[in-house]
Amino acid sequence: MTSFQSTLGEDEGIAEELAASQREISIAEFFEKNKHMLGFDSGARGLVTAVKEAVDNALDACEEAGVAPDIYVEVSEVGDYYRLVVEDNGPGITKAQLPKVFGKLLYGSRFHAREQSRGQQGIGISAAVLFSQLTSGKPAKITSRTQGAAEANYYELIIDTDTNEPEIKAESETSWDRSHGTRIELEMEANMRARAQLHDYIKHTAVVNPHARLELREPGIDEPLKFERATDQLPAETEEIRPHPHGVELGTLIKMLEATESYSVSGFLQEEFTRVGKKTADKVVNNFRDRYFGREMSWPTPESVDVEAILIGAVSGKGKEATAAFATGVADVLASRDRTCHADLVEIVDNVAESVEAETGKTFGDTVRENAVEAAWDAMTTGRVDDGEADAAVGDADDDAVEVEPESVLRAPLYAVVDDATSTQKDDATVQGLAERLAADFEALDDFRHRLTHSELKRLVDDAADRMVEFDEVTFGETARENVVASLWAKTRTVPDEAPKVRDVAANRDTASALLDAMRETDILAPPTDCLSPITAELLEEGLRKEYDADFYAAATRDAEVHGGDPFIVEAGIAYGGDLAAEGQVDLLRFANRVPLVYQRGACATTDVVKRIGWRNYGLDQPGGSGMPNGPAVIMIHVASTNVPFTSESKDALANIPAIEDEIELAIREAARELKSYLNKRRSMEKRREKQDVLGKILPQMATKVSEVTGRERPEIDGALARIMNNVSVERVVTEGEVTLRVENYSDRTETPEITDIVSVEPQGLNGDASVVDLDGEWFVKWSPSVSAGETAELTYQVADDADFDIQVDGVEAEKLTVQN
């Protein structure tokens, strides 16, 4: 640039010269230079991103068509390139749409829709096509078969990067074993260094899409990775919703204004936005008018003004009677009102004029009415209070000479408002001074109707206060000013003028901005949530269960919340123990609209939330009490929204939006609470087992020693053992062919053990509600008594002497059970 600057002035043609080298660049060209923004910054990553985009599209297509997705992904080496094939069983794509879907950047059905879906911008899959084309020079090969079509269609497609236009290079009919669906084949320069991420992506996709069947083949694995369906239940269909007034930006609003067929703003609001009916639209329009036109200040009718006389003077040629009736009528109405603004006055004059017309037959034309209004308004706002009383007001010779003039009629009402709005600490002179100045300022307003916007009013008050501070050396702080402005604003009235029409709003950025402000300011119901399709806690758990072999699973789905006009739902799941790796940090699985997020974990809001939760409370190890917890656990988080806020276009990380972070935290905590109680129970079971182990060793030793010391026989200790363990003791005592099964429940709740005593001879005389089954010479005595805490149940039967027994007990946790034969 310096070189240009140095020659500026010498060469007048420089601007033209520069302009000549400037030309429009296509979006495709732009992205060619900014691949990283879309996740194609390296060959390794490009492959993963391409798979991701293709699979996301395939899942969306299937779900929209109500088909349980069956998706096949294949990566293979072809010479120097990698070939990626993604097939789905979706509805297929018509010939007309196909080039646009795969070949045109920013083409998609999603961008303008308020509905939860995987892809949103319509960049992804076409960027993959572009990436393949740029690195391998090969076209994208697409096969599509729509339902019921006799044959599939095969296309070769390239994108003209100058024009962002797709071109079909070749096309033919072909046969395909799928009855309907789409297949895309891309060749690209790539490598498999990101194999782990690729596997993660497919696996995690399977977790959050338990209704989908996925298969992945790639050169590094012998057997394809297959992820079977866990449910036939497709995600709930989502309803598309119109945008919420709180969720649009100015640019979008202007576009919508330009595109709408509505004529009035009210109609536009009701037509184009969700949750806006007549009432809400009116509220918004009123707020809009206040911003656009400003509001009119209202004033009390001063007692010192003889309105009647002034009106009689202002009306001429209407006869004494009619004039008097008119003047009295208006004066009476004004006298009955606390405050009146200019628009009110116009209305009053009109009303009275009409009724006088009806009574007297005289016509009060527009000019007469206008004159009357002007005269009355003039008297109400520019009149002077009669001398005599005015002397009582502040007298300060050094003031800016307002004092020499008689007092304005506005001063008293302003004094009342200011006095009310300021604290009692402001001395009277200050309040008087401000009222004085404000009165002068109002009189000096360009708009004689005293119409002003909030910011104009604020400026007015600020000016007056600043002058006060300057000349009177008093303080008039920010809070006091705000209070005065608020009190004055409360005395203003919405004007009756018609709000501007839609086309006028669209044409003027400031007006549109005023409308947007009005929309944001108005309280409007949160958007409906049927546009969202959460996975649901149940299926989330199912998904985790399917892909992770753990001991424990929990999941939670939060209620929908709203951020910036877009509803969102957060879900969290936790798997713990089992085959999960016990060393190192837990696995964090992040999902947005059912799409796994593979890269940029550190930049993601979900990661931040997980790190700031105190996991020790939930029984996970967390070095230092913050950061990623350690242990054999998987934590997964799913954020579903009509507009998921990502940190960048490559959609790898969620942005830190407090409202969403809060929900993420609550969802995780909900699932973590279940984990905690599971871990607590497990720990107490472990303790119980340890206690059982230790006591099971110590007590017999103690008994032996006790018998040694006392010289008596070794005491029976099983009863004591059972009691110590707080557990259930099942005991068989055989005395002379009489068998007694005794269940003693030392736990603190009712236990229902299922006892099977396998006897080698037939038991007789069964006493109790048990059954006997003969199985090949063995008799199964089945008994399941319900024994309440602290109680004992007994079953007796007789057998021949040489019986063998084998007892099995189910239905009681092993840790709590003591069986004595």
Partner: protein, 364 residues
């Protein structure tokens, strides 16, 4: 001989304890042992004996927990050992018991540290109502000594010995045996007993001939006094009707030494009636002395202050004298050792301080 029957009784008591466990097992109950809670809040003043004994609160040591079961297992092993020891008329020290446990066939029964074995022996004393000495358990060292005009007869393993505690002993004095009940007092010229905390002060008194000059029996406490020392002090008071005085440093830890001589210790409150001498009087160093004699001092440390404050709550120090002195000490924030008296010269303690204090107390 009464000692024989004592031993038999001790052995019986131990076996009875084991039998109690046996019966609990046999009844299908969880073996347990009830013990008085051994904390400061559970010692009470016994009006009859004027000593501090355990109150009503008890803790249960039950095999219902891993810890409790281990303790009881150790208890029964120890009972077995003690019963055998009594059977064979042997004796052992507390420390030997600790090491001996290493030889037991059961690792769970072995002691982790000596505190544990010491405590267990105390527990057994309490539940069996037999003293440790009757179990033939002695502490590793007692070493406390007597010096003064008294003749005693001690039954030793090598026969009876008659000893005069001034004439027949060296500078070190007469060594109190582990079981002072083997001593018989024969004759004496003792006017009163003076228990001294530190060796330095005890040697000073002997060197200055204080014991001869005033017919004092000087008992060396050696810090927190061993049971034998406290027992013999009590016997001197009870059997010979001698006034007992205690002379220690002027700090909270030394007041506790006095407390255990006079009222018994928290750890052995079950033996207070056997060990404590409630009539023992405190000579000094009082905080008052620090002020009156302007003694060289050290500032109170945080732990000293805590100890003093805890003594204000200690039931053993609930007298006007102690409350006044402790509050004074907290106020001046200073403490002094017995040796601080040397700042006025080596003879000051024997010539001035003690005669003045003892006269004041009505001993001289």
């Amino acid at each position: 001989m009464s000692a024989k029957t004592q031993e038999e009784k001790a052995r019986e008591q131990l076996i009875d304890l084991a039998a109690e466990f046996y019966d609990q097992f046999a009844r299908g109950e969880i073996p347990e042992m009830q013990l008085p809670t051994r904390t400061k809040s559970n010692i009470e003043y016994d009006e009859d004996s004027n000593v501090w004994v355990y109150g009503d609160r008890t803790s249960t040591r039950s095999a219902n927990s891993v810890r409790g079961a281990r303790k009881l297992l150790k208890a029964i092993y120890t009972i077995d050992f003690l019963a055998q020891q009594l059977d064979q008329d042997r004796s052992s020290t507390l420390r030997e018991l600790y090491y001996l446990s290493e030889s037991w066939d059961n690792e769970e029964a072995q002691f982790n540290d000596q505190d544990e074995s010491n405590q267990l022996v105390e527990d057994l004393e309490i539940v069996s109502e037999v003293t440790r000495e009757d179990f033939h358990m002695r502490p590793e060292e007692s070493g406390a000594t007597l010096m003064g005009p008294i003749r005693i007869r001690e039954q030793t393993r090598r026969g009876e010995r008659e000893i005069h505690c001034q004439d027949d002993v060296g500078e070190g004095g007469y060594q109190i045996p582990n079981n002072p009940d083997t001593i018989e007092f024969l004759e004496h010229d003792v006017d009163f007993v003076l228990c001294v905390e530190t060796g330095g002060m005890r040697d000073r008194l002997v060197e200055n001939g204080f014991d001869e000059q005033y017919n004092v029996l000087v008992v060396h406490l050696k810090g927190q006094p061993a049971r034998a020392t406290r027992r013999i002090t009590k016997r001197l008071h009870d059997e010979l009707d001698l006034p007992v005085t205690v002379f220690t440093d002027g700090d909270p830890w030394s007041y506790r030494i006095y407390g255990s001589v006079a009222y018994g210790s928290i750890k052995s409150a079950h033996l207070s009636e056997y060990l404590a001498t409630p009539a023992a009087q405190y000579v000094g160093i009082r905080p008052q002395d620090i002020v009156d004699y302007d003694l060289p001092t050290d500032p109170l440390s945080d732990s000293d202050i805590n100890a003093l404050e805890s003594e204000l709550e200690d039931p053993r120090f609930q007298t006007d004298f102690w409350r006044e002195q402790i509050e004074l000490q907290l106020e001046i924030g200073k403490k002094a050792e017995q040796q601080a008296l040397a700042s006025r010269g080596l003879d000051f303690v024997t010539d001035t301080y003690l005669p003045e204090r003892l006269t004041e107390m009505g001993i001289l």
